[in-house]
Symmetry: C2
């Protein structure tokens, strides 16, 4: 496995791989690798002849006051994990190389970036899209892999790729969970022992909403209220940013399920939520498919 | 010469050209070809083994109420001109193919897009950058050619290419002028005979400002006032949007020339202006280099 820090070097290597007709799979990460990343790598290894993993904690997707500075970084550990997972190249650029002092260009996937996590973290997806497009241009992948835990991000990047004629397949990979159901995330590291125990409430509430939907419960308002109460009862839940029912294809909010089913006889409903456990923001989602 | 309307077809052709190690030159146009475009093609023909010209009147760079609908279109005439100029491929996509109904992704080169023409035409450069990036992704050029008449556009696209790691050379080509000095532009077609005669005032004012600079006139405020009066005296000039002195490298406004020269012992000053002649908006610029 080779580590490439220089952007021009990465550019040259990826173009050489393309010339040799390799299929390049890209797994973009912010490091602090966990089982979620490993599952992306596993899928990439199966589908591509070369796997490049980028490790870059991207400053432009953090708002002022967010956890950019304290975001967990451990390159040595990441290196070993990536090597054991069969990664061919780690792309590990510096922030000053990715964003020089004259940098001014940003990508906006409008509307989709303004709701849900985008409403709570203004500018977040603008930063995500910008860095992902830069990585795409440098690495020139055939397929790029993203976790479905960040479902909104996955949809936004897919939209960007199609809108900008990138001809890169954007593959969404299943959310990986701890034994109790908590979605694996680097930010779980922030949780105290008690917070960690209680954090599973997020997945449990999503499951409850899913069960109610499956049983034919079409009153989303009362389901929402029920969930809200359950969150309120848990003193470790310090804030519920959103708990939404949305069309999984375009993120349109679903308010009246009867009307929705009439308009759409088959499809998928995304149940997605962001809550704070203590000082840690966690997101998760679950999908209900119907036909 | 081949005309390609289909985006996927253009994508395939350009990738095949790259595989055969051709150097692709792209001249993006909105059609209505004139001597300005021909000069870009001439330079592209010298530097590249294959020249692709795109013809696309891009809706997203026009604001509501602007001249998108009435913008001159004459594909037959453009075809003959391009053929005679030695163009290898015309890329001529449809607006619905370039922007499908779910389209949501836009590129913003911040700050640079908000001044001068960007202040007068909000969203204009967002539309320009978006379509140019799409064309770059579809056509994959080694070099792309833009006229210096649209100096701000040239700088913005150069910034975008660098920021997004595109590895495409952005070449600026000299402004081509009519015998009296009027910069050639498709929008000159809108001018009545009398307006056309008077339109040269724009270039003449730029020249006057340049002469004053050359002679050592460092009071930009009084130069500006002098120019303003000259415009006011001409009844065909219906509006002066701006007449600016700016650093040609980064478009920073120059207010105090003495201070500027102290900070920057060598460089280039852009004198740029946008004025309306009757109902037609014209832009032009001139550059003063010093060292």
């Amino acid at each position: 496995m080779e580590v490439i820090e220089n952007i021009d070097e990465m550019f040259k290597v990826s173009r050489a791989l393309k010339k040799s007709s390799e299929t390049i799979g890209l797994v973009p990460t912010m490091g602090c690798l966990h089982k979620g990343h490993l599952s992306l790598l596993e899928i990439a290894k199966k589908e591509c002849t070369k796997v490049i993993m980028s490790i870059f904690v991207n400053p432009t997707q953090f708002s002022p006051g967010e956890d950019y500075e304290k975001y967990p970084r451990d390159f040595k550990a990441d290196y070993e994990i990536a090597k054991n997972a069969g990664v061919d190249y780690i792309f590990y650029p510096g922030a000053k190389d990715m964003y020089n002092k004259n940098f001014k260009t940003f990508i906006n996937v409008e509307k989709l970036s303004e709701i849900m996590c985008g409403a709570c973290r203004p500018g977040h997806f603008r930063g995500v899209c910008t860095v992902v497009l830069k990585l795409f241009n440098i690495i020139c992948p055939d397929i790029a892999y993203f976790g479905q835990k960040d479902y909104q991000q996955l949809l936004i990047i897919r939209r960007m790729a199609e809108d900008l004629n990138l001809k890169i397949t954007i593959t969404g990979c299943p959310t990986i969970r701890e034994d109790d159901g908590l979605a694996i995330s680097s930010r779980n590291n922030y949780l105290s022992e008690n917070e960690r125990k209680n954090a599973v409430i997020l997945f449990n509430c999503l499951k409850t909403a899913l069960e109610l939907l499956k049983k034919g419960g079409k009153d989303l308002k009362s389901t929402g209220k029920l969930i809200q109460k359950r969150f309120e009862k848990n003193k470790f839940v310090t804030k519920v940013e959103y708990f939404d029912f949305r069309d999984a294809e375009n993120l349109d909010e679903i308010k009246d399920l009867n009307k929705y089913f009439k308009r759409k006889p088959r499809g998928s409903i995304l149940i997605a939520s962001a809550v704070w456990i203590g000082n840690t923001r966690l997101i998760d989602n679950i999908i209900f498919s119907f036909n």
